[in-house]
């Protein structure tokens, strides 16, 4: 079982950026009908989401979030020895978005930089990869960025997904320290569920995939270039395997629900989180929700939710359990002590890396 233990790594800052555009769930009533939209809102708890503009990407928001961390925490950019970007919404097929952020932040060449291709579990995976690399190197500070813009690959008439997805990026500053309790993490995967959440085209398996809309098995129209979700399978996996993961984690760490101040869980949808909380007997006040205003924002959702709750909170140390689960299938958990002064309030930003928009060969 992939169990990770770190004795000298802490989260020294979390910064979240959301786009300015607000999409009200009720605005879909004309397209999908009042009954279906009301049912969706009741089950998911999603009243509105945030969406990026046409050329705005996860790396734009990630850059802003990371820049803010460096600035507000007074970090010398030359001290950053590692930059990881967890996303399924890269700016390009190649290079990875981490390199765009590396350039924009003007980080040193003495810095390890790469992307992790994961969605809703990218934060829990990214943290454990970053911490592992730090523990086994002389890297003193690292930045983990997590973000997705899943709305861009969701078919506009896909009533199963278009009302669900929100967009955001978060940046997390990790640093070495001798003053914190050991951190434990646990990761799991199941490739048998690779079809449960996917965008079938756009990769190298079928370079000439059709762009024509088709009616899928669930009666919904999409193209192969849009995301498709087997919602019932995802739901069933989540409400069984995620609680099991947490229970195994509690056994492993000899802790229980009482040892945590906050359960920063991936904001999948209201019904899923309700089921997980019920199975684990997590009090509602310990599991903050931001679904109503941000929707399902993929891997960044747990940190975004933390910023929403603690961004302006009184200073205190809190024990936080992070949990993520999704595309792959992939799921994981870790817990850390964080001081709330290191959790920054959410900001809105629609700035774009104009140089990165390449419309013709003449621009290269």
């Amino acid at each position: 079982m992939p169990v990770f233990r770190f004795s000298n790594i802490r989260i020294a800052g979390i910064s979240s950026v959301i786009p300015k555009q607000v999409i009200k769930t009720e605005s879909y009533k004309g397209l999908f009908g009042s009954e279906d939209v009301d049912k969706f809102m009741q089950m998911t708890g999603i009243s509105e989401t945030r969406r990026t503009t046409e050329f705005q990407t996860a790396s734009d928001m990630g850059y802003t979030a990371a820049q803010r961390l460096l600035s507000e925490k007074g970090i010398d950019k030359n001290d950053i020895g590692l930059l990881i970007f967890g996303t399924t919404s890269g700016d390009y097929r190649r290079p990875g978005s981490s390199f765009i952020v590396h350039k924009r932040l003007d980080l040193p060449v003495d810095c390890a930089v790469f992307d992790i291709n994961l969605g809703c579990s990218s934060l829990v995976y990214g943290f454990q990869v970053a911490a592992s690399m730090m523990q086994n190197s002389d890297i003193k500070k690292a930045i983990l960025i997590v973000g997705d813009t899943a709305g861009k690959t969701t078919y506009p008439k896909d009533k199963a997904s278009i009302m669900l997805v929100g967009e955001t990026s978060v940046a997390i500053l990790l640093e070495k320290t001798e003053e914190i309790e050991p951190v434990t993490g646990l990761l799991r995967s199941d490739g048998n569920g690779y079809r449960y959440l996917m965008v079938p085209a756009g990769g190298y398996r079928n370079l000439n995939a059709s762009h024509e809309p088709e009616i899928y098995h669930d009666g919904i129209e999409r193209t192969l270039h849009h995301s498709v979700m087997q919602g019932t399978s995802v739901f069933t996996f989540t409400i069984t395997d995620v609680p099991k993961l947490i229970k195994d984690y509690w056994t492993l760490t000899q802790t229980s629900v009482d040892d945590y101040d906050c359960f920063a869980f991936h904001q999948a949808n209201g019904l899923i989180l309700q089921q997980i909380a019920k199975k684990l007997k997590i009090p509602v006040e310990k599991m903050p929700l931001t679904l109503s205003k941000f929707g399902n924002t993929s891997g960044a959702s747990s940190a975004l939710t933390l910023c929403d709750r603690y961004g302006n909170a009184p200073v205190e140390d809190i024990n936080v359990m992070f949990n993520g689960f999704g595309v792959g299938l992939s799921w994981g958990v870790f817990s850390v002590k964080i001081n709330t002064k290191d959790i920054l309030p959410i900001i809105e930003d629609d700035s774009i890396f104009e140089e990165g928009i390449i419309r013709s060969a003449s621009e290269l």
Partner: protein, 76 residues
């Protein structure tokens, strides 16, 4: 058990006569939102865990099929 299953199903979709319908999945009468609600309530009510491998149309086509599924899960 059958009556309780009918009660749960009718609570989710009052517009369907679950005592008469035997092709709920084959005829696409239940959507994914109905199914996840149904799975949640059945798991809670009967203390079972319906897994992905049980998500076959034949298990969800009728109330009687669901009763058989629940009994199988309870005895396994």
């Amino acid at each position: 058990m059958y009556d309780k299953v009918i009660e749960i199903m009718s609570g989710i979709r009052p517009d369907i006569d679950f005592m008469q319908e035997h092709k709920l999945m084959d005829e696409g009468l239940l959507d994914s939102f109905d199914l996840v609600s149904l799975i949640s309530e059945l798991n809670d009510e009967f203390n079972i865990a319906i897994r992905v491998t049980e998500l076959k149309p034949e298990n969800f086509n009728s109330a009687a099929a669901l009763v058989e599924l629940i009994k199988r899960l309870q005895s396994s």
